[in-house]
Amino acid sequence: MTLPADLVITGQGLVLPCGDGVEAARASLASRTPCFAELPETLGHGRGAACTAFDPTGIIPPMQLRRLDRASRFAWVAAHQAFRDAGLDPKAGTWGGGERIAVAVGTMSGGSEASEAFMRPYLLRGPEGASPLLFPNTVANAASGHLALAFGLKGPSATFVDRENAAFTALDQAARWLRAGLVDAALVLGTDGLFPLLMDVCGGARLLDRHGNPDVGSGRGFLPGEGAQAFLLETSSHAEARGARSRATLHTLADRSAPDTGREGRARALAQAAALALDGRCPTRWIGGGNGLARMDTQEARLAAAHPDWPAPHFPKALWGEFGGSGGQLLAAALLEPSDLTLVTAPASSGAQFAALLEGVRLESL
């Protein structure tokens, strides 16, 4: 897919292991300090990047907070920040009572935390252990439903699930709805929460770095993280008409996949996606999705070797963890430093490989 250069990001909201909000993320990225630590028992056994400073007070009403899984809580706060950053009140009449705003979510684990919480007592105690309050959150699209309720959003909605870059599939879909004129704005989110079974499975499958913080290129494995990143996407004409300032233009978004999930095919697919996104240009900044797992890191290592003129990539997943937004972290990092042409490569161990080109990244907000 190649987008015309008329889609802009006008708002950003971030919940990350380094803290809530853009300033905390910018400081974390600048210091390059990883956020990994021993997880609290409630989130699982081992090291990961948890959102320990997350504070929804004053944003999510206490009654609602009780009903939300972690991914939905993060998504709510990130969406709140993104709307505020964009200077957009979704409940205002100009948005057709919410009908002109779409929601597209990417997640690796959406619904899984609640599924574990629901099934543990059920497996131990039978039907009397089953909680009807937990069950609605076991679906991957729980977050989008909660956001619709919280912000009165009534446009189209889609939740995409993949391992490492589902937020880019969500971005792609949101762009289509905007291009088709079906909506005036789209809220794009990546969101994931940590939970014990995830840590258990990743550890048992020997995917995790057991020696310290993940190191891209080491092949030792990754460490999981959590959080949400929300982006308000509009056509440039619509943003201009309402006086909104653009954080960046989404110049191109490209995806390619390989029939098999082996390294060779995926590396080739990512290279093709990057070539499509750049169309002969040289990026001034590069954000990559390497996470410390050999089969992920290889793809971008090959890309870097083939393009020595490109700037060295930054790897935000080495700071904030894998899955914590299913690639949304990469877009977030791309928007945190000014740059003329920022290339974002989002490799995945399955599905499509994505590359996005952001033009004119600026830091000012309303």
């Binding site: 959406g110 629901f118 099934m119 991957a140 989008s144 619709a148 446009g155 048992g204």
Partner: protein
């Protein structure tokens, strides 16, 4: 915009493991509901489900197995060629790899080591990847998990790409197998009928859960004609909306669902009076069916008086992530054969459901276009607009 047609249709259901077997059984008034044997849940009050007579294989979940089987039937010997980057895979999933995760969790709770690699590598996107391997696709892939509207939205998304001229072929559909989480979950909500479900009935008491898979091949019309492909019907567009009303219950007046249907009609540039069939979500829960009938009236206006409505839930139970695809398959075959499959056990219609819901027996009639509905938790509504293919 390119015109987009359906050139392949594969069905794996609790009635039969193929398309024509399933369709003929539906028209004959049979259902695939029977005693629950897939899951050992003796304490659950409802012991009924629509199960597919297949088992998962060692490295293949039931969903993946059913999806591949449905794809083989949809391909019907066709070997996709051309540019592999112009072949896309768009799938809807509900629970997908969840049974594997449940088994692992059960092992861990019992103090066993378990096989962590299985849940680690058998996720929702596994079936999508397997389908891509089968057809050699190198284009876009999407695994949509919008709960019960997943597979219908996947078809809409596939149509979008083809209509925009970005693809030459798309494989779209969904697969769903029974798992404990959904069975126990719907049971905890008291939404499962211990007897065979009765969509649109006055005494409807909830849904039955079911299994199945549907895969469609979607192509631009010109390419389909050029290769002389059989054409089941045309996809004209889709609509999608959110209720913003309740986490699990639909808007009681069907407001969001009506907007999705209206959006599908607008996208497909079709008037309500041209729609002769609604393949309904029709879950047989007290909340859904009344709201959906109101939504149909809102969207179609006076044309609702002449439209036929049917629910595949009466044959298969609720196949969750695959439900929209099952409804689309039934609508495509109805368009092909000009006959509406019946809503079984509809002996005493709910006065709120005052539409022609095709009670008990199949109905031969003119069908020019059909809306397919799928609604989901989170107030998520999708409607797909299909039209009869009458030749170039």
């Amino acid at each position: 915009m390119n015109r987009v047609v359906v050139t392949g249709l594969g069905i794996v259901s609790s009635l039969a493991l193929d398309r024509e077997g399933t369709w003929s059984a539906m028209l004959a008034g049979r259902d695939g509901l029977g005693p629950l044997t897939r899951l050992d849940l003796p304490a659950e009050p409802a012991q009924i489900a629509g199960q597919v007579p297949l088992q998962p294989l060692r490295h293949q979940t039931l969903c993946e197995r059913m999806a591949l089987l449905a794809l083989e039937e949809a391909l019907d010997g066709f070997r996709p060629g051309g540019d592999p980057a112009r072949i896309g895979i768009f799938q809807g999933a509900g629970t997908s790899g969840l049974p594997v995760a449940e088994a692992y969790l059960n092992d861990r709770l019992a103090g066993r080591r378990g096989h962590a690699a299985e849940p680690a590598y058998q996720g929702p996107c596994t079936a999508t990847d397997a389908l891509a391997r089968r057809v050699g696709a190198e284009g876009p892939r999407g695994t949509i998990m919008n709960a019960c509207s997943s597979s219908l939205l996947a078809m809409g998304v596939a149509w979008e790409r083809l209509a925009a001229g970005e693809l030459d072929l798309a494989v779209s559909g969904g697969a769903e197998g029974l798992c404990r989480t959904t069975y126990a979950g719907f049971s905890s909500l008291k939404a499962v009928d211990p007897h065979k479900c009765r969509p649109f009935s006055r005494d409807r008491a909830g849904l039955n859960l079911g299994e199945g898979a549907v895969q469609l091949l979607l192509e631009p019309l010109d390419l389909a004609l050029a290769r002389g492909a059989a054409i089941y019907g045309e996809v004209l567009g889709y609509g999608a909306s959110m209720d913003a009303h309740h986490p699990t219950a639909p808007h009681p007046g069907g407001e969001g669902a009506a907007r999705a249907m209206a959006m599908a009609l607008r996208t497909g540039r079709m008037e309500p009076a041209q729609v002769d069939l609604v393949s309904a979500h029709g879950t047989a829960t007290p909340a859904n069916d009344g709201a959906e009938c109101l939504a149909i009236r809102r969207a179609l206006g006076g044309a609702a008086n002449t439209v036929s409505v049917t629910s595949t839930k009466s044959q298969f139970g609720h196949t969750l992530g695959a439900a929209g695809a099952m409804g689309a398959a039934a609508a495509l075959l109805a368009l092909r054969d000009q006959v509406v499959s019946p809503t079984l056990r509809l002996e005493d219609p709910d006065p709120v459901c005052d539409l022609d819901c095709t009670p008990l027996a199949a109905k031969q009639r003119r069908i020019r276009a059909a809306l397919v509905n799928a609604f989901a938790f989170g107030g998520n509504n999708v409607s797909l607009l299909l039209a009869r293919w009458g030749g170039a």
